[in-house]
């Protein structure tokens, strides 16, 4: 195996329980987003575009779809003879089965994967976020600062700061304090869950953490605090641009709606930083003579005979005559009948919405359409 300067470890085992039925059968990184993509496409494309060609993807929760989606990584040009994508599920050893109990334990259990490449640096990523970022620039920064660990940070609204890991730094951006989800945050600079470790430090601290029976084996809660305690050089790397954790139905809906906003920084049309995905290979979308399409994002394979207003439609969706889809997200291959009205909702893939159905929220909440609803017990239906 060739030596690699930097290897990425992508944590993709998240359950995303606040996405409710959307993550019943698939891990959060596999949730569809943006009319064509799955959430993990953004991180994998960032790796490919940043010149990182060796990526370990750590899976645990509902991995079937994610595994087959990633395949050998060819969609992201990561099918390489040396390196490329390797899916790393938890495994059994002679003595026990080792589930990934925390982010740090997941990496610790795959130190042998990393050792094969003798990396100088390890980039730790999460497959849960929507953003475009050049990891190469972050690595240059890490090297320039002679840091042991570099953590990327983003400014978040003060009101939300207590949901994140919050960093306090000195003027040189050296991290002096790291608080995981503080009740009273001292500032609003949040960790994006992206770390670059120098290899020796990572190995040393993960081995130490693994021996500590009191540890919860989490980077934010355990590893970073003990590094700070021992006065290691931790630097913050400020990121500017679009970054969204689509952990809830509402934030997933919002992130999709952001794509319809001209002010949004997330440009899917930038040919210099393409977001790759597994291509469904469907014919062009067909917009019928009766159809009306207003300010929407529509993927190939759709057949539109109704009205689409400020919505995001994934591949293979069909919308029947007289139907109105407003401010909604319709996931792959959903079939919307005739004279249906859908407003502020997420319709999951393969759903079949019968003729005349009305799906509308009474209290401005975003509706996630479920099988139970479609069987007629939900008040949003007439």
């Amino acid at each position: 195996m060739g030596k690699k300067k930097c290897v990425a470890m992508l944590l993709a085992g998240g359950k995303g329980s606040r996405l409710n039925s959307l993550t019943k059968d698939l891990a959060k990184p596999a949730v569809p987003f943006g009319g064509k993509y799955r959430i993990i496409d953004f991180t994998l494309s960032n790796c490919a575009n940043s010149g990182i060609d060796t990526v370990g993807v750590l899976t645990q929760y509902q991995p079937l779809l994610l595994n087959s989606y990633i395949g050998i990584g060819s969609a992201w040009d990561l099918d390489r003879k040396d390196g490329g994508v390797t899916v790393l599920p938890p495994y059994a050893e002679t003595s026990e089965v080792k589930w990934y109990t925390g982010t740090a334990s997941a990496i610790y259990q795959n130190l042998n994967y990393l050792k094969q490449y003798q990396p100088e640096y390890v980039l730790i990523l999460s497959g849960d976020h929507i953003y475009k970022m050049n990891y190469e620039s972050m690595l240059e920064y890490h090297i320039e600062k002679r840091a042991d660990v570099t953590i990327s940070l983003i400014e978040v609204p003060w009101a939300e700061a207590s949901r994140f890991g919050i960093m306090n730094t000195n003027e040189d951006l050296r991290i002096t304090e790291f608080e995981e989800k503080p009740a009273e945050p001292k500032n609003n600079l949040a960790s994006m869950g992206i770390y670059i470790f120098s290899w020796n430090i990572l190995k040393e601290y993960l081995e130490m953490d693994a021996r500590n029976s009191k540890s919860s084996h989490d980077f934010g809660k355990d590893v970073i605090p003990s590094l700070l305690e021992e006065n290691k050089k931790l630097y913050a790397y400020p990121f500017k641009g679009y970054w969204k954790d689509v952990g809830t139905v509402k934030s997933l809906w919002e992130a999709n709606m952001d794509l319809l906003n001209d002010e949004c920084d997330l440009d899917l049309f930038d040919h210099d930083w393409r977001i790759y995905s597994v291509n469904p290979n469907q014919p062009p979308q067909y917009i019928s003579p009766e159809a009306i399409v207003k300010e929407s994002l529509i993927n190939e394979g759709c057949t539109i005979e109704g009205e689409i207003d400020n919505s995001v439609l994934f591949q293979g969706v069909s919308v029947g005559k007289g139907s109105i889809i407003k401010e909604s997200v319709i996931m792959p291959d959903a079939v919307i009948g005739e004279n249906v009205k859908i407003e502020k909702a997420i319709v999951p893939g393969d759903a079949v919405i019968p003729d005349g159905t009305v799906i509308r929220s009474f209290d401005d909440e975003i509706i996630l359409v479920t099988d139970e609803m479609l069987s007629g017990v939900y008040p949003a239906f007439k």
Partner: protein, 343 residues
């Protein structure tokens, strides 16, 4: 089926009536239906029918065709055994413009010897159709015929032939003695001593051979009865993948009766048109009865009716271009159209 039928696509054809669209590419690579090249139809049909070995015989200007096909990966033809084979003909100056030229095959006779498939299907590269060849092969084997010629049920020969590979090799080897230059010569010769059968195909099929018929066949795709026969979920037409985002409809866009590929940004009005991948249409622009190929940019307030824009054409703001259904206005690849030139 897998090891039974060999696919042979003759991609040497050139139609003078399509000249304006073929200055940079071979007929096989002619863009069609917003995201395909014409050869995708027959090639996908072969793959969907379980054919795992396909030989393509191109002639001249095959750069765009090779770029499109690559290793055959998009058709699942990048195989260790069998797969996609590309045999540019060494006979550059021949004026043979017939499907299945034995002279072209002869230069690569070893390929036919080496192929283990018992039967071969020889096709043209410019038919728009979605046909499963499995029933045809069964029919051919059952009939005991030497050569089966495929006809459309409306009586048009489709320039596709099914033969035993051993007979094909024999026909190629004896071409000088028999005087047969291609499959068509064999079936048309009243003196031939082969049993020849006719297989009628009843599905949708159009052979593209002129600008007028390219234009009308393209716009016919907007008829849902037609596209439903071409784009079948179980038998998808495969093509080169482009990683374009979904198409975005912006404020002021009005689109009706159109087929639109991915990666477009639409600000204007589109009616009865086919829009390919990565096209930008400016504010106030009106596109009617048009075929717009990949990556064209149509700036604000243009008016285009019955126009074919080849790839990478830029139409400057306020330009008016009009053609007719019989004689569409064709703009060549990579050119720029200004308001002053054609107003």
């Amino acid at each position: 089926m897998k090891r039974k039928l060999l696919g042979v696509i003759d991609a040497t054809t050139y139609h003078d009536d399509l000249e304006e669209l073929l200055t940079h590419r071979s007929l096989a690579a002619l863009p069609f239906a917003g995201r395909y090249r014409i050869i995708d139809f027959v090639l996908s049909n072969m793959v969907n029918s379980g054919i795992s070995s396909v030989a393509i015989f191109p002639k001249m200007m095959y750069r765009s065709l090779m770029d499109h096909l690559g290793s055959g990966k998009n058709w699942d033809l990048n195989r260790k055994r069998d797969g996609l084979f590309f045999f540019p003909t060494p006979v550059v100056d021949s004026d043979i413009n017939k499907i299945g030229s034995f002279e072209n095959f002869a230069a690569n006779l070893d390929f036919f010897y080496r192929s283990s498939q018992e039967y071969s299907i020889i096709t043209n590269c410019y038919t728009v159709f979605n046909m499963n060849f499995k029933p045809l092969l069964d029919w051919h084997i059952h009939s005991g015929c030497d050569i089966t010629e495929i006809y459309h049920e409306n009586g048009t020969p489709m320039e596709m032939y099914l033969v035993k590979t051993s007979l094909l090799i024999k026909l190629i080897e004896t071409r000088n003695e028999t005087g047969y230059t291609c499959m068509r010569d064999v079936v048309l010769d009243p003196e031939h001593n082969h049993s020849i059968c006719r297989y009628d195909y009843s599905g949708y099929a159009v052979m593209i051979n002129s600008i007028e018929n390219y234009f009308s066949t393209s716009l016919n795709l907007l008829n849902s009865d037609v596209w439903k026969q071409l784009f079948i979920k179980e038998q998808p037409i495969l093509t080169k993948v482009k990683d374009e985002p979904p198409t975005r409809y912006l404020k002021g866009s009005a689109v009706q009766n159109a087929m639109i590929a991915n990666g477009c940004l639409i600000n204007g009005t589109v009616e009865n048109s086919i829009i390919s991948r990565g096209v930008k249409i400016g504010k106030g622009a009106v596109i009617k009865n048009c075929i717009i190929m990949q990556k064209c940019v149509i700036e604000d307030n243009c008016y285009l009716d019955s126009v074919i824009l080849d790839k990478d054409v830029k139409v400057e703001a306020g330009t008016i271009l009009t053609g007719t259904a019989r004689d569409p206005f064709v703009v060549r690849k990579g050119t720029k159209q200004g308001a002053l030139m054609n107003s």
